[in-house]
Every structure is written in C-alpha cells, then in structure tokens.
Symmetry: C2
Subunit: 347 residues, 2 copies
C-alpha cells in the first residue's frame, strides 16, 4: 500500500495521521542493555548486556543512564557491521530534564544528534523520524536510541529513593535499560525486520492527575492512536499477530481494552504490553509493571524483533506510550496527558 | 544544487552533515508572541502580539509559556489562511523539564505532535524535521514552534526569582516569547522564504561548566556547525548576506568569531546574533544578551523573514544554538556541551 492509496482509504472525519515509507526501511541491528532487576525478569536472558551494578561503573544515576545509551549504541553499531562514522543522524530521547541522558551519552559520537521528546513514547517517535529521514534521502544509516533508569527517574519525577515512600499498586517500576536500533534502506540479512507503517499520535488528555497511575493516564492516548491506525489503514485487529503497547502495565491494559472495545475493536486476544512482559510482576514486586523509555526499547530489541525474525509473528503493531508530565506540572495541579505513536513491524 | 552534488563536493574527512530538500519548502506564514520587555526592545514593534502581563492571563509561568505557544500557533495558522485540521504534524520544543510548555500548549490542537529537544537550538531541529517530513511526502502543511519564558527558565535552571541573586555580566536574559512557522511545498505568496539547506550539528563539548556563561558554552558548537556547513556546501561567508546565530550574546559572539577565524573563516562583517538584537543590551540591563528557544524564534518570525521578504537580504545562514545542561547535570559537576543546527533561508 502506498501513501496515496492510504489517504484515499481514510473515510473518517479525523485528521489523517499515518505514513507508509514508499521504499523499505529495515532495522539491520539492535542492542539492549539492562539493569540487574530486568536481567532477572522473563526476557532477561535475551539482553545483550546486563550490569549487576546499577551505577554501571559511574558516579551517579544520571551518568549511569548516559552510559546505558552509549553502550547500547556501541553494541548496535558493532552488530550492524558498520562504524560510528557511517551514521548520518542519531534520533535519541530519554525521560530526564533537558534529556541529559542522551546529551551526555551521545557526546562522543561524531554524528549529528536529533533530540526527541515524547516521554516513554519517544522510541516510536525516533523510529518514525528515522524512517522519515531515510525516505527523504538522508544518509545510508541512522540510529534510534532511548533509555530510562529506575533511580534517575524516581529522583526526576517522584521521591528521593532514600525517603522510602510507599508505592500504590497502580505505580510502575521504571525500567533500567536502553535499546538502540540501526536503520538502513538495504537489509543486512534475509530476515531483517521492516518498518512498513506509522501512525503518529495526538496528545490526549482525559484529565487524570495521578502521576502514580501512569497506565490509566496513557491508555486513552494508546486507544486513540490504535483506533486511528485501524481507520487510516482500513485494518482490524485480526490483521496483526500482536498489538504491543509500551508500558501501560496492568491498570492501563484494562483501560485500553475497554476503550477500544467501546470504539468497536476487540484486541484482547492479541494485545501484549512490554511493561507487563519485562518483569515477573508478582515475584519481582513491581506493582502495575515496568515503564520508561527503556522498557519498550529493550523489549523490542531483545524479544519482539526475535519473535518476528523467527517467523513466530508476521506483522506486529508496536505502540510506545508516553505520559506527558513533569514534577512541576504535577505539583501545579495539571493533568497527565498521554501520547502514543504506532509502528508496523513486518519481515 | 542537489544532494548528490553536495555529497561529492565534500572533500573533507569529517562526517557529512548537510541536507538539501530536493523540492522547495516554503515558510508560508509565521507568528511571534512576546513579553513586555521584548516588546520594548529594538524589534518590539514587529511582534504580532505583546502582553504587558508576563503571566499571559495564566496562573503560573509554566502555563504562561504554554499559552505563548498556543497563541503563536493560532496566529500562524490564521495568517497561513488554513485551519488547524490542515496541519499534518507539529514539531515543537521548549526548555522546561519534560517539555511541558509544548505538551500543554499544544494539547488542544487535533494534530500529532513530535516533541524535539535541542535546548535553544530546537527551532533549527524543528525546521529541519519539518522540511524532512515534507520531503518524505508527509502532508501539505506542517508547523514548527518553540518557546521560552524568562521566569519559567530561571526557575528551571538557576535560582528562584524571589531570591534575587546577582547575575554576572556573562549571564543571559531568557526571552519570553514563542515563534510558530507553517511550512508548505507550495508558496502562498511570491516572496515566501524558502528553506534551501540544512546542516545538523554534533554535540560539542569544550569542558566549560559555567551555566551563567552560556554564550561561551555554545560558541564551539556554533563554530563547528558553521564550519561544517561551509565545507559541506563548498561556500564561504561571502555567499551569505547574513550569518545569524541564535543566542550567543556578547561573550559567545567574540568566541565564535575567534574560533571561526582560527579555522580560516572571517564572518565578522556579516555576523548577527538574535540574542544581541532583541534587546537594547545596556539600557535594558540584560548583560550578555537574550537567550532561550523563543529568542531566535521571535527574531526569525518578526525581523529576519521580513528582511528577506523585503529583498534586503537574499541568502541567510540561520544557526540556532543550544546549551545542553540541566540543573542536575550542572550540580553534579558536568560540563555544558553545546549544539547548533544551521538553516539556509532564501527568497
């Protein structure tokens, strides 16, 4: 399907939000770097590198998160069989104020950096922009990388760890991890995963104000983007082997399924959430599940791409989800709007 | 010149960092919204809207900054003669943690939002991504918008205003303002300004740690991007009527001129800095000059585009400059790396 056909298919009144790269864009390599807790989770064995030390050899958590991004980039570049000089652009994002995990993590790469911010949906944005840049004819290789770190995120958004506050059951556990992806117009191997479609999301605000219930805050945006994706592409849930959200967790998942059912789509039998898959939720005591820019990034790299490459899933709708808040907006009584961007992955 | 020619021109060993849109991309409208102090500066009369109330009718500074972005978007959309539903994407950025000025300012536009972060260079990134998206065939219209607010920025990066700390002479005054730009592949009028080239910048770190001397921190990145631009396009300063940096201020300007002279380029007679132009520096007591994502945005919209449209300047190299720091990285003893992205503007 090309963009013209796609546009004509869209008979709804809403703004058209999707894009099909006219030429194939491949993920030719990827890497996942994770922390100790993530390494002990269900997909822990699949990560490229796990550190028992959550400081990753650094002096503080922010530098540790930068180190995560740096390492993820190095692994992905190596696995692609290229050098850093072959990269034309890096699309990068994280959750820290002024995106310092990216700024300091990517400092030494001799490559222009495009900082993106979509909270935990940033990986979706990065992949979209990466595919867009290749479509515009920019470079042979670009990289997309995002990260999060449990301790730097708690400090950034909530309470100092040493304060030991109680976390409600709706709270998420921010994933310590980073995933990096190298995109190219030429496949490196026969089963490289292709990025075949994108639906960029609007900011959606249901007025929820709970920063300790991010799943509920993000679910309306996820539902909106997935609904618009079905409408834009004239598809239904049955056209995808899996529909995978970023980090809705247990609470957000229920809200998503309900919201989509109200719009006429039942995705129950094929929905998966990276935030639920990445931990043994009960045993690891993570309450609603994992979250963060690193959550869907390491899960995509280590698990989802593997499933597609092995032929277990043919077509996947991957939907990173983000909660747009800061501690300032939260303390000033603002709501927590959500945003989500959908990416179609196929062999 | 097309991208292939451009690539062949590049005989240097550095990574190739430039892009020429194969088809014209026009800025068909723009708007500038500013605060009281900016309204009293040398280009104050040119702004579309000035508020004497720096809260812009809102409850706090962060909401005021969101209101700035919202208003800039509304003015730009109106001036373009389109509706918000005609926009395919909004590329937006600001300086606040987790980009909340953009998130809340753009909440009610029924358009997907791509959050960008390059500190005060974000407008350069937004215009680059906007041109890239149009080149990739996405939509008929996209918007680019950035903002900053003196009071929200001081709170975010430095000291509470009520504390009344002394500011060294190297300090900048963050501009209260927002500029929005509507891009299209079709011109709206005969003298619409075209975006004809881009050089995206690497992160450059000279190890400076002074968050109250942002000009010095950003100058090496500005010099690097401008140098690479000349090399990539095989041009020299004489090919541009003006070379305009975002917010280097008086200190950064001196450093930039020196650094470029050391690389063999003298831009003294045609360099201009938005941070120096926007205020009457001595009379308005702003020390080194203006800064912020809003500084170059309102100056581009109100003054630079006007000069080009009136035929006073034919070709301008516009280089928004950013300082990549947060209060956390600063307090942890990190340096303040810089980044700059260059945009060629022509009739």
């Amino acid at each position: 399907m090309d963009n013209a056909t796609l546009k004509n298919l869209n008979h709804d009144t809403h703004t058209y939000q999707s894009f099909v790269p006219p030429n194939p864009i491949y993920i030719i390599s990827s890497a996942s770097i994770a922390g100790d807790k993530e390494g002990k989770g269900p997909i822990g064995k699949l990560f490229d590198f796990i550190s028992e030390d959550n400081y990753f050899g650094c002096k503080n958590w922010e530098e540790a998160e930068s180190e995560l991004q740096k390492k993820a980039m190095e692994y992905a570049i190596n696995k692609a069989g290229i050098t850093e000089n072959d990269l034309r652009l890096i699309f990068a994002g994280d959750l820290l104020a002024q995106s310092i995990a990216s700024s300091f993590g990517l400092l030494n790469f001799p490559v222009p950096v495009v900082g993106v911010y979509g909270a935990c949906s940033s990986l979706g944005l990065s992949l979209f922009l990466g595919a867009m840049s290749m479509t515009a004819g920019i470079g042979d290789y670009v990289a997309c990388v995002t990260s999060s770190h449990f301790s730097s995120a708690e400090k950034e958004f909530r309470f100092p760890l040493a304060y030991g506050n109680q976390r409600p059951l709706s709270a998420h556990w921010t994933v310590t991890g980073s995933g990096a992806f190298i995109l190219s117009k030429e496949p490196k191997s026969g089963n490289d995963v292709r990025l075949t479609g994108f639906t960029t999301g609007q900011i959606v605000d249901y007025g929820l104000k709970e920063s300790l219930n991010m799943g509920a805050c993000m679910a309306p945006a996820a539902a909106d983007t997935i609904y618009r994706h079905f409408k834009d592409f004239n598809t239904s849930p049955q056209d995808y082997d899996k529909i995978i959200t970023g980090d809705l967790g247990k609470v957000g998942k229920l809200a998503l399924l309900d919201l989509l059912e109200a719009k006429g789509f039942d995705i129950t039998d094929r929905h998966m959430d990276c935030g639920i898959e990445i931990y043994n939720i009960e045993a690891q005591d993570v309450h609603a599940g994992g979250s963060g820019c690193g959550c869907c990034a390491v899960t995509l790299s280590a698990f989802i791409l593997k499933q597609i490459k092995e032929g277990l899933w043919k077509k996947v709708l991957f939907v990173p989800t983000g909660a747009l808040l800061s501690k300032i907006s939260h303390n000033e009584g603002q709501s927590v709007p959500g945003i989500a961007h959908a990416v179609v992955l196929e062999v």
